[in-house]
């Protein structure tokens, strides 16, 4: 026993070091941006970087409650509008994807033949096609049919992100469910829709929740669709960051604070639902 621990110690130390290095690699940008968001302009541009400074919440105040001019005129600050837009777009996209994706995933999971394999691959291919490939044609189409800068248009284009995620994660989840339960329901007289709504969905609720969570985070983090297809009405929170680049200056502190705010929901979800998210990601093997 003692022998084993003494032999394992260097290995354990090495592993711990790797963890620390990885955590540093992942967390450093986050910490850096956070520090930036609570510095005033002078501290931000100081060189060498200052680690001791008087923290300020003025950047957060500006984005959350508006600049002095905005406050005076009673305007809603832009970032709040963008946050609402993101909630509507990502929330709407995830709900739509659930409505389409749950039946689709169920069909893919239970119909094992070459057609369904091809369909599965097609769905998967949406995930590896870079968004840049479709964005310009989509811009033209959206402008022509009037989807440009509309919630409907944004929710539709976000299906490219959320739908494949939902389908792939849920198809794996459904496939792991014992089929006898559904067969028992068939013998009990249930049709395919009753089986789906009364048996499969209730049983798969944890899987559906984690798939929706993951899809929501991926959709929330998207910027390119907002950049090209959203205008003043529907700009998502990821675009809010760019608002700090004004004509005459770049407000680094405001930008950092915006980045923190826009990343916040994802971070909270990741911490709260760590287990479900990991399970969902490994199930769908989307990473």
């Amino acid at each position: 026993m003692a022998n084993r621990t003494s032999r394992g110690l260097p290995a354990k130390l090495g592993l711990a070091l790797c963890y620390v290095a990885f955590a540093g690699f992942v967390l450093f940008p986050l910490v850096w941006i956070f520090l930036m968001s609570i510095k005033n302009f002078g501290d931000i541009i100081a060189y060498p970087p200052r680690f001791v400074f008087a923290p300020t919440l003025s950047n957060y105040a500006e984005i959350l409650f508006g600049s002095e001019a905005e406050r005076a005129s009673g305007q809603v600050p832009d970032l709040i509008k963008f946050l609402m837009n993101s909630v509507i777009i990502s929330g709407g996209a995830v709900i739509l994807s659930a409505l389409i994706g749950i039946p689709a995933a169920y069909a893919l999971a239970r119909r094992r033949d070459t057609t369904s394999d091809k369909l599965r691959f097609t769905v998967l291919s949406f995930r590896f096609a870079p968004e840049l490939v479709v964005i310009l044609p989509l811009y033209v189409i959206y402008s022509r049919v009037g989807l440009y800068d509309t919630y409907v248009g944004m929710i539709l284009v976000h299906q490219l992100i959320t739908l494949p995620l939902m389908i792939l994660i849920l198809a794996s989840f459904f496939r792991d469910m014992p089929i006898e339960i559904e067969e028992a329901a068939r013998v009990d007289g249930a049709g395919i829709w009753t089986i789906l709504t009364a048996i499969v969905v209730p049983i798969a609720r944890p899987g559906i929740a984690s798939a929706m969570m993951i899809a929501f985070i991926f959709s929330w983090n998207n910027m390119i669709f907002g950049l090209v297809l959203a205008g003043g009405n529907t700009r998502p929170v990821t675009m809010g960051i760019l608002q700090a680049m004004t004509f005459d200056q770049i407000k680094w502190g405001v930008m950092a604070a915006s980045a923190m705010v826009s990343a916040f929901p994802g971070m909270v979800a990741a911490v709260l639902f760590q287990k479900q998210i990991t399970r969902g990601l490994t199930l769908g093997a989307v990473k």
Binding site: P178, E180, I181, E183, A184, A185, R186, V187, D188, G189, A190, G191, T194, A198, I199, P202, I203
Partner: protein
Amino acid sequence: MASIQLRGVEKSFGAANIIKGIDLAIADGEFVALVGPSGCGKSTLLRIISGLESATRGEILLDGRIVNDDSPRDRNVAMVFQSYALYPHMTVAQNMAFNLKLSRKDKQEISRRVEEAARMLDLVDLLERRPGQLSGGQRQRVAMGRAIVRNPSVFLFDEPLSNLDAKLRVQMRGEIKLLHHRVKTTAVYVTHDQIEAMTLADRIVVLNRGVIEQVGTPLELYNKPANLFVAGFIGSPSMNFIDARLKDSASGQKAELADGTQILLPARPFASKSGKITLGMRPENIVVERESGNMAGTVKVSEPTGPQTHLVVEAAGTDMLAIVRADFAARAGDGLRLSFSPNTLHVFDAESGRVL
């Protein structure tokens, strides 16, 4: 309630022929057991009757009506699965009520029937629990309850007791039999356990590699097995087999074993083209004595079971199992003599395996 008829039923999965032409008629109210080794197609045949699987060829009739194209719902059959397949998110009561709800029975009737079934199966105190909070035996009861509450025309059981421990299995076996006496619904019961089949069924269908080897009452199969497969499958411990040759003599036909031992056969003319036969004797029919008897043997193993003792005896170059009284003291190495009453002998053609 309904009769079941299968006419030339075949089933292939891709290139694999699993069910190879089954003809079977099950009378209304009959309890039929489907036995056979694992993988022989029992579940597949049951699923074809239920409508979960379609037949590749042949016809399935329920109450004289061809139901090949009917969904499970339209066939009104109830099935009890080996894994129970309860709905994990529903309470026991909801599990049992699911079919009734789907067929739009009114609330009062549903609760009346669920309560009735719960009383019958001793589930009254568990109605609000979920399957996850039940023991294996209780889940099994719920699965049964889900089936009987519907008042189906046919019960289908797929090894419903194989996940229970031995004691519970015997108890549930008794309850299933009682239940059938009470409701008299046609039942097809799949099992690989021949004792379960013997004790429960009115008739047993022995299935092997997708074909029926024999159909008969439990005692018919035990007393008159049609071939070596059935002879070896029915009865526990299973029948002893010895290769022999047919020999005529003044006192009647005899079987001559490899070592020259001669055993008198029943007084029936046997004929085998090659003259080669396989002799079958059940362990419980072998007479074991110390001095007299027509075949010498040596005890290899003695296994007391309590009421009786099983002896593995080496004789005529093979091992034979014989059952003796518990007070018959025998130890490994003891010399014994075995004899066989002609009427307990089973004689099979060695080549075709069929009974002669």
